[in-house]
């Protein structure tokens, strides 16, 4: 009985691992770092999580989970409600459809793929935010956030790979 419980817990932890790691990253992303010149720029961690899991293990990041992540990132990030959800879903779909090109490739190729997807996502977000606000929104911070995200992606990948090993670990 006891073994059954622990086994079940283990199974659930494995299933939820990717989602929880993404959630943790999202929360970490809201810490006010107060770094000089970076004070008002935070990279979009949600897109990193969605991209990584869509490439490496799409089964553990199904579309509803992406939806939920989008809602949480909108609530935490204060972007107009629903925008983050839509952008994440589109990025998820694009990544999954291009998965064959990325899987098993050297890291540089995957990194390049991430750059493409996150650039597309930022442009889409920018367009929707402009449309909703009915005015021209300064895109410079978004550009900085894009480069910061690109620079951080290898580190985040390490983190997720660790999570993936933990999840796949003893099977």
């Amino acid at each position: 009985m006891k073994a059954g419980f622990w086994q079940r817990l283990d199974l659930w932890a494995r299933r939820l691992g990717p989602f929880l790691s993404a959630l943790l990253l999202l929360l970490l992303g809201t810490i006010p770092l107060r770094l000089p010149y970076l004070g008002s720029i935070t990279p979009d961690f949600a897109i990193m999580a969605v991209f990584f899991w869509a490439v490496h293990r799409p089964s553990s990041m199904p579309a509803p989970a992406v939806f939920l992540l989008g809602v949480i990132s909108d609530v935490l990030g204060g972007t107009p409600f629903g925008v983050g959800v839509l952008v994440l879903l589109v990025a998820y779909w694009v990544t999954r459809s291009q998965r064959r090109l990325l899987i098993g490739q050297p890291f540089m190729v995957v990194w390049w793929g991430f750059g493409m997807v996150s650039a597309g996502a930022l442009i889409l977000t920018w367009l929707i935010v402009c449309l909703l606000a009915v005015q021209f929104v300064n895109p410079t911070p978004a550009l900085f956030a894009f480069f910061l995200g690109l620079a951080l992606y290898p580190i985040v990948t390490q983190l997720f790979t660790g999570a993936q090993r933990l999840v796949d670990g003893r099977t």
Partner: protein, 291 residues
């Protein structure tokens, strides 16, 4: 009829793909629905956001703590190094300030006498709540911070948030123990301001850059770089005269403002509780012997 498992698979896998695609379309539709909801029923969305951030605020405060600690240690070390020169500087400054204090006392006494003569209604009392900034949701498209103080600490929607340097923003959402501050650089921020020297009124509008712009300057106004901008108190939301910044550049009718606030170091915010004598408590008895 003996069923071949492969046959089942042949039927099942398209069905599965179909379900997946259907779910996906449904979720995209959901995203659009959420967007519509955010546009039409702002109150509901706001309440949802307030609840979620309220629940997460303690966690965020706990995560922010080590970051603050490291920062404080670095700051302390820096101060120790500059202790001597800083001390001399402060002694010098104190002497100057003592003189100013004497002047201010004299003016205050004179002012109160003149006010009593004129029968002027005294300014409403202002009190402060100081709150820790625990969340920085300033993404690429939003300029907001989260503070660890809410309704139970007396925070109300619309109050001004200040740092020691000047105005930082205003409270937009209040939860039980957390509140959101819309920084004055956000695209949704509009603040009635005054050019301090010329007394021209204008609106300070954020555009997500660090330099918000001045809109609706009266014709004939000639803003010069370096002019000070303060709140005008119009609309009764903010007290008048809170420092905001100085004019940065004036180019082809576009006037940018350099706020005093250091956006990279928003650690604590003072929330001004300004009792709106004119707007909310219109029939509040006026204290003092002004009448």
């Amino acid at each position: 009829m003996a069923r071949n498992p492969r046959n089942v698979m042949r039927i099942a896998s398209p069905v599965r793909a179909w379900t997946q695609r259907f779910t996906y379309v449904l979720l995209v539709g959901g995203a659009f629905a959420l967007m519509m909801l955010g546009k039409t029923d702002a109150v509901l969305v706001e309440r949802l956001r307030t609840h979620v951030t309220d629940a997460l605020a303690p966690i965020m405060a706990a995560i922010a703590e080590p970051v603050d600690a490291v920062e404080r240690a670095v700051e302390n070390a820096k101060h120790l190094i500059e202790l001597r020169s800083r001390n001399a500087e402060l002694v010098h400054e104190r002497d100057a300030l003592l003189q100013w204090q004497a002047v201010a006392r004299k003016l205050e006494a004179e002012n109160s006498q003149l006010r009593a003569m004129l029968g002027m209604v005294p300014d409403p009392q202002t009190t402060f709540v100081t709150a820790h900034v625990v969340g920085n949701s300033a993404g690429a498209f939003v300029r907001e911070v989260l503070i660890a103080a809410g309704a139970r600490d007396g925070i109300l929607k619309g109050q001004a948030a200040l740092t020691g340097d000047g105005l930082a923003g205003r409270i937009t959402e209040v939860g039980e123990r957390s509140a959101r501050v819309l920084l004055l650089t956000d695209i949704n921020s509009r603040i009635p301001v005054l050019l301090e020297g010329a007394r021209h009124r204008a609106i300070l509008a954020g555009d997500n850059s660090n330099e918000p712009r001045l809109l609706y300057l009266p014709p004939g106004a000639e803003p010069m770089p370096g002019d000070r901008i303060v709140t005008s108190g119009d609309g009764g939301v903010f007290p008048a005269g809170l420092p905001i910044g100085v004019i940065g550049t004036v180019e082809e009718g576009v006037v940018t403002v350099l706020p005093f606030v250091d956006w990279d170091r928003l650690e604590y915010l003072r929330i001004v509780n300004y009792e709106l004598a004119g707007v909310i408590a219109a029939d509040r008895p006026v204290d003092g012997d002004a009448r």
